[in-house]
Symmetry: C2
Subunit: 313 residues, 2 copies
């Protein structure tokens, strides 16, 4: 089989998993972006089509293009070009890793097409350049789980040190995406530069317990640990009815949750599909009354990360 | 067998395990305090002897006595008294849980003598009153690992939520106790009330990675995660040649380490007994030149916690 074209399935991801602000991310099974990458006899990068979102098809103005340029700059001997078609199912600005899905998908897809030349950590680094283009910050906590699957922890950036965490079998996510705009840069600006030592200690106690809970598959411990005393109290003001939503979802059986990324999406984790669906119903009942458009997703944790199929043409 | 007397073996513990300031503690196999508790026909509490340390034998002025009073106040129907003998092998002020060994040992011993009436968490709470008496703060990160063994995480104090962590098989500790005085209260005062958000994020990334490393038995990950960017830089000034010691121990093969509790002891973790012994040699070479008295301990992690034997008399 000639490996000249590949279709990439790049999942939504949740960064800032509660107490794990800036360090813990996780991958969902849906929604999923699709990216088709083809070798082309024309040199350079061409984005032929973007379906499902209004984004520039100019490669230097598009996350996918930026990532492909970053990769090709490291491979000066590649003689052919790349053509791209993008099917966005993860809405830009949703806070569930839309730019990360594009960036990570482009990195993984191009790497496979170009002969599997990069390690996972290298691919994350390349995809981070897409994040830098999208938000001004080359953060890893969406692209790492998109590429690696499951829960990932970014221990450090210098050097980049990524840790794959254990995923309990029966963990599901329910995600509410209110169709309001929150810019990542603004969500970042409202955070304080300093935090109370006592709050920081609580936070790292919760981070430690959350990770122990994942390894122990102890859902009660996970539930108790899903507590963010530092970022959620500040950012939640940007999300309509956040605390009501959280309280009612927990009453409905959710283990807990928080803001996805820098919002506006809100995620809740549950033990099992039935509870996750019931949490979705609860979210629906609250948001149906608010007069804001919204979408709700129910998904298991995606333990595989990006998937692909070769295209025979 | 009449269960009228018991001998308790209560181990040294290390609190503030590097990045896990105030939340992660661990138990050592040595040194170990011994406490003998006997039922007595005289009502009340009597401390007959304390060997190995100059501490008050007045029960209201001694950690063991305070803990026993705390327990007996919760059991108003106990008709007999308690007699205590204490053999201190863990030096008061060493920073390796001397008061905690007394407090936890008294709680576990009296509970067994009185018919096993308390849960582990209740015993930790009772032992914490001994810590409150000793240092003014009812902290749990020494008494919890003393009672539960291994590595423990204090997720929260209100309510008290203790998490037992996985202990890698081959993890050893080397502890240097420089015979200088650092008061816990003073070591606490030099800490800042606020910390940089960026430092706090690094810290909880390291806490998360350390716990993942323990579960994965990934010694390299444990090594990279033993980094405290918040407390160690401030407190290490109290300990002679701290950074030289740390650097040389890591060169000698230690995974990493930090200040034990609020000092003055310094601990290093290693993979295997031979490396831990080599680290001890390295510590010895550096401290032999300083003109300060010191003791060095080499110990595996104690996964059992407090042990005991009944005494037949």
């Amino acid at each position: 089989m000639q490996k000249n074209a590949i279709k990439i399935f790049s999942p939504a991801t949740i960064a800032n998993v509660s107490c794990g602000f800036d360090v813990i991310g996780m991958a969902l099974e849906r929604p999923v972006d699709e990216i088709i990458l083809r070798k082309s006899s024309h040199s350079g990068i061409r984005i032929l089509n973007i379906h499902g979102a209004r984004l520039s098809t100019r490669p230097d103005k598009n996350v996918v293009g930026v990532v492909l340029y970053t990769m090709l700059n490291q491979l000066p001997n590649i003689k052919y070009g790349l053509e791209v078609e993008i099917f966005k199912n993860i809405q830009p600005g949703s806070g569930i890793g839309s730019s990360a899905a594009s960036a990570a998908g482009a990195a993984v897809g191009a790497n496979l097409l170009l002969g599997d030349r990069f390690t996972t950590t290298e691919l994350v680094k390349i995809a981070m350049e897409g994040e830098r283009f999208a938000s001004g910050i080359a953060h890893a906590d969406n692209v790492a789980p998109a590429i690696m699957g499951g829960f990932t922890l970014v221990r450090s950036y210098h050097p980049l040190d990524l840790v794959e965490l254990h995923v309990p079998k029966n963990l599901w996510a329910t995600v509410l995406h209110p169709k309001i705009e929150i810019k990542t840069s603004e969500a970042r600006e409202i955070l304080k530069k300093k935090v109370l030592m006592s709050d920081a200690i609580k936070q790292w106690g919760n981070v430690g317990a959350l990770i122990a809970g994942l390894y122990q598959e102890n859902y009660e411990l996970i539930s108790r640990s899903l507590e963010d005393v530092i970022v959620e109290p500040v950012r939640s003001i940007l999300i309509p009815s956040f605390y009501k939503l959280k309280m009612e979802c927990k009453k409905a059986g959710a283990l807990g949750g928080s803001i996805s990324g820098s919002g506006p999406s809100v995620f809740m984790l549950s033990c099992g599909k039935a509870k996750a669906q019931y949490v979705a119903k609860c979210m629906d009942e609250i948001y149906a009354k608010l007069g804001i458009d919204y979408t709700i997703y129910v998904s298991p944790i995606n333990s595989q990360g990006i998937q692909w199929e070769w295209i025979t043409e």
